[in-house]
Symmetry: C2
Subunit: 632 residues, 2 copies
Amino acid sequence: VFTPLGLDESRLAGGFWGERQELNHDAIIPHALHWLERAGWVGNFDDAASGRPYEHRGMEFADSEIYKIIEAISWDRARTGPGGADLHAHLDAALDGLVDRLAAAQDADGYLHTLFGRAWQRPRYSDLSWGHELYCFGHLLQSAVANARAGANAKYLQVATALADHVCVMFGENGLRMVCGHAEIELGLVELYRLTGVRRYLDQAALFIDRRGAGTLPRIEYGSAYAQDDMPVREATVLRGHVVRALYLSAGATDVAVETGDAELLRVLETQWANTVATRVYVTGGMGSHHNDEAFGLDYVLPPDRSYCETCAGVASIMFSWRLLLATGKSRYADLIERTLYNVLAASPARDGRAFFYANTLHQRSVSVPAPVNADGLCLRGASSRREAWFEASCCPTNLARTLASLGALWATKDAEGVQIHQYGGASVDTVLADGRRVGLDMETEFPHAGTVTITIRESPGTPWTLSLRVPEWAEGASVSVNGVAEEAAPGVASVTRPFAAGDTVVLELPIEARFVFPHPRVDAVRGCVAVQRGPVVYALESVDLPHGWSTEATVVDVSKPPMSDSDGVRVHLSSADSPARDFPYSVSAADVAPDLAASAEVPLTPYHDWANRGPSTMRVWIPTSPVGTAE
Amino acid sequence: VFTPLGLDESRLAGGFWGERQELNHDAIIPHALHWLERAGWVGNFDDAASGRPYEHRGMEFADSEIYKIIEAISWDRARTGPGGADLHAHLDAALDGLVDRLAAAQDADGYLHTLFGRAWQRPRYSDLSWGHELYCFGHLLQSAVANARAGANAKYLQVATALADHVCVMFGENGLRMVCGHAEIELGLVELYRLTGVRRYLDQAALFIDRRGAGTLPRIEYGSAYAQDDMPVREATVLRGHVVRALYLSAGATDVAVETGDAELLRVLETQWANTVATRVYVTGGMGSHHNDEAFGLDYVLPPDRSYCETCAGVASIMFSWRLLLATGKSRYADLIERTLYNVLAASPARDGRAFFYANTLHQRSVSVPAPVNADGLCLRGASSRREAWFEASCCPTNLARTLASLGALWATKDAEGVQIHQYGGASVDTVLADGRRVGLDMETEFPHAGTVTITIRESPGTPWTLSLRVPEWAEGASVSVNGVAEEAAPGVASVTRPFAAGDTVVLELPIEARFVFPHPRVDAVRGCVAVQRGPVVYALESVDLPHGWSTEATVVDVSKPPMSDSDGVRVHLSSADSPARDFPYSVSAADVAPDLAASAEVPLTPYHDWANRGPSTMRVWIPTSPVGTAE
């Protein structure tokens, strides 16, 4: 339905996300490059190329982090464009160096993985449940396509096509009739098909999608749903199992559905998305309710304190929603992308871009942090209580880097009639419609800090075209003004069709006062609690904002008084609710366990994405409400 | 303070627990013996004795299951006494066979473990975090002491003392200054000291207690608190980390404190118990809030749906409380034992004694069961949704077996003044007080189905002695009658001192009407919910008891109408609370997410320990309460 724009067509300019793209270029990417060397994960390729035995460093998927950082550098190059060449020279050099080193490790038949297949290693494809071989390949392909689209390293694409050809032989109709424990190869194959037009890459991706769910993977402790091998993609009605696996698979299946014109598959995927978002998503947009298996819980199992909400799951959720948005044009997909951007992706990196949340909890009860596990200070995946510089399983920083670098693409699309704006934040769009008409516009806004979005037409053909603006689901009461003439705009899409002239302005006014958010009664874990949201931004109560002696664990909010929001931020009416410990935390007397509401105060909340930036703290998104009639 | 009675002095006779002891003898023990052979865990000893290389079957702690079943058979022999010799002949034979086979695998220096130390295996003591060597040794020692007290196999005690001597050399003051990742050796060493009087066993146990918390264990993903190696026992204020590890350590430390007269250590352990029970215990008495690391959560982190409440943790909790009861005489320790017996231990075995819950969840949302993991149909630890015949980590069935066999010991104790009754259920007590006076009594009761406990004195010296009865913490309004003369008895202990004559009766009347139980407000996970308890028995709402079309997930209870209990069981007033799925499970409108209360009905609850015995079902202990004023 919608055609995506290149990163040279839709660029962010300052503001909330523009600043984060700069942070990505200046800090996150260099930080990741440093750690990939320090941890020895790039060195694995050098050792593999040497032909001598070596001890592999890192997890089974360590190779993929190098591919993801190359993808990030590539998108970052596309984003900065020719004008950014000087600025980008050092990253380009780093990229070329990485490509040389990984290319040297590729086997003659195209296979490329540093953990398997050499005489002293486990055989190729001997551990499809956990080995991540095809998963790594998928990232290489995706990365090489990004690199090719940014117009860069020719050698890398050769590595990719040789690898893709190897996969098509090994796993084709007459090859190993198996799948990888972690979906991703499907995405890479379709992307390579789109770039090269080589149909067998698409066919192979479709084969992997159809093959999953047949129980070809060895059984593991977490069950076959963990890797979505419990039932065919076409039979599932909701996402389940390991969250990133489930979302990557869904995104890849959407790619296959779109490229093969499989409307039935697309419909199934839309249903899976809808059921998942109805019952298995946190208010932040985060997904994943289990630490144990990094998995979805059952419907409405959304405990705030054990929320996993992995950063990579946020990236993956955006990938799936983005593909459904392009395929269907429905604004709800962009709504979830927005929620996920502000409350998962924005939450992960520290302000300096050198530490990250792996899991994004909605409730942190303790300021203490578990001790690191290994001598280099690395946790396996990081505690939910603080951002960490690097992880043994360090998928999140590189995933974040490639997503931030390519973020501009999410802002706008085009179709035969005109341009669609999906996200708000300083940006410029310059594109050519299908009929050759050129369109250019600039977006200025302080969103999400303020609700006014001003779009100024810079270039217009003089004939009518349509500018469509998403009105977010939370923006009841929005309006759109064209050259000063306002009209109400209901949540969904507001479209303006006219022969725009350069200098025309379209102003979207989004109401962003803070509101309480109430949970569905089946979300057992937050019964009797409310959250606070302002625009798409979810807020949190952080201990550092509480009066002296109060605790996030013994505070109730008065919902009879709406939250206040102004330029100073968001505040709510809270009461300290003392509940002394009892010998046993249950009683046959309700009065025995009733909290003693003491002092009340207006207390500021902090944007959830900005918590844990002011030293050790406790935090909660869901705040218990005061018992009726006792809040005064 | 109190002296424990032998299993020949305190015997159960029928009733709730007597029946379970018979089930243990008839079904659980034979079932475990069958699976220990089938799984090859006994075979490991045969292979080890053969001197030829072999592939070890089962987990690192598989050896210990054999020791625990020997312990169970030994206690069961002591329980049945000389009169049960015929009945017991086949179990005695099985025991002797097991002892012969494990003894053949013992090394010349006393070491005995089937997974470590042979030329083709990992070296002894090379993996103290996960290897469970000393843990297995501890179970062997405990088992051998049980066997010796039951007057049986002399060879087994020789194996045990040779092993204990090996441990004292290897881990003594001049040996490896380390501890085992899983406490247990401490318990076994103190028990062996008690049997043999050999002081160095006690000293070695004290050394292990003092050594833990120094960080001698290699760092693992779950952190050093997992194995209580984060701080010295004497500095901790609450239990933390892996629940069974924490409780076994505490029980062992209590043994050391008592035997060495260390009042300060005993005081610390009492504080740890009190803080744990105040903030980290489920209403069932179950402990363990995390599936991930089988660990305690932070204070008040007690999610019903992810409750782990491992059966072994229930056994371990009873071990710790029992030791504190003996050491201090405080009835609260017996209160927790009672709660744990009825709601954790009684819940684990199926009615036929051939399947077990490993985890004991308080909320089961789905009737579906994950597929088994390996070809023999074994899950690693079992789902919380059904009882399973056996597990790869099958610690619970054997732990249950040894506890059920020795249960009579928990019923009564003695001191210089008389006899104390701690638990209620058909039983007979025959003992000799310290001054040589003989006392005999019979207890008759249908408890917990009814609240009347009748104790008839069978033998009395004619001089005054004291009969003490625990009045449970839930039994406000109890009374004690002596030969028909009643007096009120407040929760705690009711004592009667007199020159009892044979035929005297003491009747304890316990009020056991069903009551709602309210949670402390800091237990976030069950805010706005109530549980129902009748006497010590926690009840649950099980889907099979609901009217057609209702769901445990969409039902609220009217707390303005007290639960009803009579001979038909317990019933509450429920309303079906329809809450249709929304596009997104949160709303700025409270009305949007308010449930629609439809039909009301009186619905029976089921004793929690008896759930999942009527086919696939969903279940919840904590039931949401209806909003104020809307329940009619």
